[in-house]
Amino acid sequence: MSAGHAHALYVHGDSRVHALPAHVKLVALLIVIVAVVATPRERVGVFAAHAVVIIAAAACAHLSPRFIGGRLLIGAPFLAFAVLLPFVGGGDRVVVGALSLSVGGLWGAWSVLVKGTLALAASVVVTATTPVPALLTGLGRLRVPVVITEIAGFMVRYLEVIAGEMHRAKVAMAARGYQPRWAWQGTALATSAGALFIRSHERGERVYDAMLSRGYQGRLPQLGATAATRADWARALALPLCAAAAAALAVIG
């Protein structure tokens, strides 16, 4: 895996969370997300507990609240759907000012917002502290088939290259005075996408030939695969298990 390849969400650092093995962090993330999604929406206090867990993890990772908040804006498009729910929901209604809102829809909106936001915040903590190669190795350790992780590895490595080619095609178009604006001008973009596919394919063939010439035998070498110690597991799972316990109590109680 190409060393030092950073992705959009990665923040370099040397916190304890950064140092944990990736597969341990992925398991911890899954526990938190399942706990958040399983919590009944009426248990507002339990969501506060989940938020405390995630904020504590972010603090351990030296991630500022501002950083996390900025990343949460990615989820903003779903706000639109949540805002609609109180209007279209069925059941009893309450009148707030000039608006008549569905009680069930309001709970639905709250549920979508709080669960989506908390889960997103938790995954931001993990992705901001784990470089891509480590994430992919971690997925491999969690028994994700090697075909999937290797294709993912190639995708991540060439993503910026392909995006760069698309960008250059657009610049070349603009330099010649053509800036597609209307939907029916989409053909021009689609044609350059077709050219992009051919270039991607031909690049893939060259990459494969280059790999062969460097001794590729059907499997990429695994670099820096760190095994997790018992202490790692304990450290990584302490906070998620708190969240899981809170959710379990909320479901039972």
Partner: protein, 334 residues
Amino acid sequence: MHIPDGFINLATSAGAGVTAAGGLGAVLHRVRTTLSERQIPLAGLAAAFIFVVQMLNFPVAAGTSGHLLGGALVAILLGPWVGAIVISVVLLLQALLFADGGISALGLNVVNMALIGVFVAWLVFRLLTALLPKTGAVLVGAAAVASWVSVVAASGGFVLEYAWGGTGNAPVSTVFAAMVGVHALIGIGEGLITASVLAAVLAVRPDLVYGARLLGVRRAVAVRADRRATATFVLAGIAAALLLVVVVAPHASSAPDGLERVASDHGFAWTGQASAAAGSPLAHYSVAGVPDAGVGTILAGAIGLVLTFAVGALVLHISARRGASRSTDDAVHR
């Protein structure tokens, strides 16, 4: 279309996760013999290509922007098996690295877009190309239709999951009208883009197109955009969207939504107050002042669709103006 965490309940998400893992397992088993080591870098590059092409957003309706799902495109370019794997990898990385789609909802997204999206497209494509003469133009046209059907089918998958485990409290018929109606419009864009991309590849390297190899189209073919065919496709898509919203959606609520079900289970369904939304002009999808409920529903659906389309066109116009100078890199680094 990317479902976030907490949108669908845990049981349904877990069920979809098992379905996705099973389906992908079967796909992987099937390609184990055919997916040579050579194809792994190629599939990775194809996944990067699909990711980049998905950044070509076309705003559709009321704030939702549709981007290419790419199910039909990968099915025809790479074959349905490799295609389903490629889309799954894209979804996995979007959830992990770009926070696009929830991690607990990954199974749902894979079922909708990688399994339903790719295989429905492939079935439609195969069916159409089996019935019609095997020319480049038919191949491109079939790809457009297959894309439309696959996008609508994928949104249908979402509605089904919502009916089983939705947490939003919106009635299933409303969600059906919104999701399937909007995606019937998105499908038009998807179909046109898929067809244009395929035509561009067929003109230079038809040997790279799995669907073309299968049909024996080997020589480079120039397929010109036919104005009449394009217009027919767009109009048919809009007509189908209207049909889905107006005729099918009102019948989609065979399963009562969560709160109503709880209410009827506990025997207080009839004690609820009459809906206070009766004042809203599109309340319960019927138009005020129109006596016949059936006609009212149809009118409400039609008005909603036209409004949606108008808003979408406006948003498209504004964002196209603003976005003309924005670079692709910004989108990668959202």
